[in-house]
Symmetry: C2
Subunit: 495 residues, 2 copies
Amino acid sequence: MEVGICKQDMLQKKKNAVLVDGVILNGPIMDSKAGEKFVEEACKIIMEEVIQKANDVTEKVCEWRAPETLKKILDLEMRDTGESHQKLLQLCQDVIQYSVKTSHPRFFNQLYAGIDYYSLVARFITEALNPSVYTYEVSPVFLLVEETVIKKMIEFIGWEEGDGIFNPGGSVSNMYAMNLARYKFCPEIKEKGLSGLPRLVLFTSEECHYSMKKAASFLGIGTENVYFIKTDERGKMIPEELEKQVQRARKEGSAPFLVCATAGTTVLGAFDPLDEIADICEKHGLWLHVDASWGGSALISRKHCRLLHGIHRADSVAWNPHKMLLAGIQCCALLVKDNSGLLKKCYSAKAAYLFQQDKFYDVSYDTGDKSIQCSRRPDAFKFWLMWKALGTTGLEERVNRALALARYLVEEIKKREGFQLLLEPEYANVCFWYIPPSLRKMEDGPEFWQKLHEVAPIIKERMMKKGSMMLGYQPHRGKVNFFRQVVISPQKDSG
Amino acid sequence: MEVGICKQDMLQKKKNAVLVDGVILNGPIMDSKAGEKFVEEACKIIMEEVIQKANDVTEKVCEWRAPETLKKILDLEMRDTGESHQKLLQLCQDVIQYSVKTSHPRFFNQLYAGIDYYSLVARFITEALNPSVYTYEVSPVFLLVEETVIKKMIEFIGWEEGDGIFNPGGSVSNMYAMNLARYKFCPEIKEKGLSGLPRLVLFTSEECHYSMKKAASFLGIGTENVYFIKTDERGKMIPEELEKQVQRARKEGSAPFLVCATAGTTVLGAFDPLDEIADICEKHGLWLHVDASWGGSALISRKHCRLLHGIHRADSVAWNPHKMLLAGIQCCALLVKDNSGLLKKCYSAKAAYLFQQDKFYDVSYDTGDKSIQCSRRPDAFKFWLMWKALGTTGLEERVNRALALARYLVEEIKKREGFQLLLEPEYANVCFWYIPPSLRKMEDGPEFWQKLHEVAPIIKERMMKKGSMMLGYQPHRGKVNFFRQVVISPQKDSG
């Protein structure tokens, strides 16, 4: 087989054609040279239109079009015959133009932002290599990298040993943890299921991520068996309330098995008091999972890691380096304190076609059977290359800077007329109302709040149509719509 | 803010520094120009070492190193300080060198292979844009693309309408389906859980993918409540056996709710008789899920779609375009016949911070609440761009060619001494024994089979250490280790 095909070759081949079922089998069907050229040309567009513009604040953060309009602009239909390279490159341009630039310095819409060049290179490498991380034979480098990264993350949690797995999202990490806690509580559930068992009950704060409910429903536990614990005015779980609810569950005859604390809640950025929660878990023999998907990155900072004080007492931790650390979506680890193989025991299905035991190497490196997935992406690798490039101090600087920017923003909000802070943040979530001039002299009362509620969506609409900024807003626990600004892009400054 | 930083700017800035918590906040902390240059240099390496070598059969498919050796070669440790670009580029080279080339024409180790340049470009675009597909405001293009692709896939299944979602793997698709069938059977389980309910039972063939067991255990149903249905000698589910097992479950007082048929089993590539299974499902009111993760791509071929005859009667289908169609890992859709919003009802958690109802656009485009994930990758896009590029006929050619190559391989195996076919394949899985000269004259008997069992691992070891070929093998249902060769790379020919 040769690289590329020329016409003469093709003619020669047709003469000696190996024809099976009407298909000519000698010679590849793809023109590799043309394909490579297409990749090169597209890469130029990506470099110019996405990467180089990523930190240009004069560009629009989005080029808003309503769904029906965008459908008309984009030629979405897939047809019988293919398109020319020229047309395809134009399509790529269009896709880029109308996509949100999540790396734009003024993208504050979610809990991720910015661009990291090293992580990006790692992602290009893995897309080109197209590995699947289940066995050492297919993914030797990526499995070793995952092992190394997990070990390092465990160090920052403060465990002496542990286990873990990268998986597609903090929501999935939380599911992993919930199932693991259940398995630890009663291993027979793996085979027997929940039918006929007493009601399993888990506890988490009112401010937890919505994936807790999704997980409880998916795992057959039921959303009603998630007992939501009251939080204080800062959004932190109240340990005394947890104690009460555990006792209530016991009295009801149900089976408490898990407490999910949150380190960095989605809206307010609150950290549950892990140490006190761990005391209660210890007392009642409950698994402690910490959803640190958002707040976990503070562990990297010597200045801010105190936010997660007590995390070393957790049984499992979810931590997403794709958020504040910019590893690129998705990069999410579930980390487990147990090092006796609990993860594998809980998840293994021992597929004989994949996890053969008579391989010529140490099959303990075939870690794929710890996963709920079969094919799995090498998400640890992008975090690893980024960490190699920046060093721990570089990652630490990223965290310190994000929190300093939050501090700065808070002080600016306090100084400026028409802006009102919701609360002093302890993390990077700066929550505030913008009160337009027309409402500034209005009396406090239901009408004021109802009118204020309508402000954020309108301003957001204006900003998005202008393409000037994207900013999250939400109502939250009785509070009317307010903005939530999270500044993590290393390209963003105080300007 | 400017693109790039020069030293003079930095000095000027230091003078007017905005200092918060010891962090200087004016000016970005990243040198974008250097970052962009790094990306460019790395892209050159990726182009030369991965993409251009992808179809060069004279290259090694893998550069085998045992785990302990590879750990010594790679500098895996993450340190306090970062590495130079030069060192990082060398690391990238090393990672590529010791990674398996899954796009190599002689990579037959799994059910995916080859390289598709269009899908690859799409993946580079999405890595650079770093979107998350939950709301239209953040992912306008990718949500419309997903809608279009799902609609098209549904057309090929033969449904008049439907719904669907891309997710991280066929295993996860099967979990989605299992939970959906359960929700349809008894919606209260979402809130109440399984506790106190009769035992839910599902049916699937002995040859099904191992994710069925994983799913049953993860969803709290329990692996023992998966009733495995006997298959015929070709690996197809026997409908009469299914009927018997459903009746047995009813007699036991358990609650049958789901039949999972397989279209393209992992090892043998067998297709369950969907039409007859659908009859039984209809009769008993059971949800029919078809795991067509592997076999679904045959739907694109007018010649081979008959393999899935009856699939239009399914309630849900799992189909992975990352396998035979080469869309890149991962690209997996769960498709659902229901178009009344069942998927959303079953999965929604209505997070107020993400799925605000007072947005300025039609929020029915915010489809993220149909997912078990929060952040989600735009996996439909790579399939879409590839489809645009090749057209349906190009995809069809890919399938026809893979099956013609299987046919060709089968005929060659029949002709060649020392090769023995396991069975006539109906799909692309060519399963065979290689009988070395030393065993060819041996009498049939336990000793022969025991010795033959040891052959495949040894040959595989030799091939991997040489880097000449990667080929899957496994024991299977009483049969000793045999090779399973699946030829799908468009770069592979009959040579």
